[in-house]
Symmetry: C2
Subunit: 170 residues, 2 copies
């Protein structure tokens, strides 16, 4: 018997796995700063271009993307978390908090939300989706975008990470 793919499965274990990999990447960044005597605050504030967001904000938005996705698909209030992380360790804690929050959802809270009306308020106005389009066309691409950009900021700064760290080792 095949277990059909589900909304919960597409979101929760997928995001938890990638967030755990991102935490490992931040550990490697921490080791690098220690070995090379670099102030780790430099990495937290590092950007790929002057008007792009720095590392800290990339991690915060990745966190918000999947926190908001789970909350909205489940129809529970989306908690607001302050964006106050200033160190790699604090960013790791934010990642763990996100993994734990996702883990608080049961499959039956998110499964069946394919046609649910989802409203997202952005700087550019209100976006309206059905559940599936929200998950596949907005929340997940946005999540992977910010995790990858966090990775790219670190890679651009010479941290020795590879795509296996992003995908996770098997």
């Amino acid at each position: 018997m095949t277990t059909p793919i589900s909304m919960y499965q597409v979101l929760v274990p997928t995001a938890q796995r990638t967030l755990a990999n991102l935490a490992t990447i931040l550990d490697k960044a921490t080791e690098h700063t220690e070995a090379k005597n670099i102030d780790p605050v430099v990495l937290v504030g590092s950007r790929l271009y002057p008007d792009m967001f720095p590392l800290a904000r990339q991690v915060q938005i990745a966190s918000d993307a999947v926190k908001g996705a789970a909350s909205r698909l489940a129809g529970v209030e989306n908690p607001s978390w302050p964006d106050e992380e200033k160190t790699l360790q604090e960013l790791k804690a934010r990642i763990q908090k996100t993994i734990d929050y996702l883990g608080s959802f049961k499959p039956e809270q998110i499964d069946g939300s394919e046609d649910k009306a989802i409203v997202v308020k952005t700087r550019l106005g209100e976006l309206n989706f059905k559940g599936t389009d929200f998950l596949l066309g907005f929340a997940l691409p946005n999540f992977f975008f910010h995790v990858t950009t966090a990775y790219n900021i670190l890679r651009h700064n010479g941290i020795e990470i590879g795509k296996q760290d992003y995908l996770g080792r098997r």
Copy 2:
């Protein structure tokens, strides 16, 4: 009646939408090079770090990731495409070829592949997955990684693109 999310839906329309957005991003890069009198070949070979892949390779790997995913989940031979693109226009053509290839699959070829045994040969050895883990834990994260890195390379070079270009305008 809710239409349940499916393997086809997670892969095919999701990847086609993101690839179409990437094509638009490459158009903006082309306009930028024309306006600023930049040899566009510079962008095609641009990297975020000396031992990272350049823009062309990022687009080629993104293409391969979803071409291979559709082929493997459907159980058809995965066509090998030469990586010969040297210009932004040729990269756009590669993207369109990928969109068209994905469009050649019918939902029933990919749906129901949740438990299908998938083998991927990589530089690091053979990876074995079930269909769902392959799609959610490998193919899609890999695809978004390379599209985002292509975006980041262009952004880092001053191309005026924003996340709305990556996500697509609604």
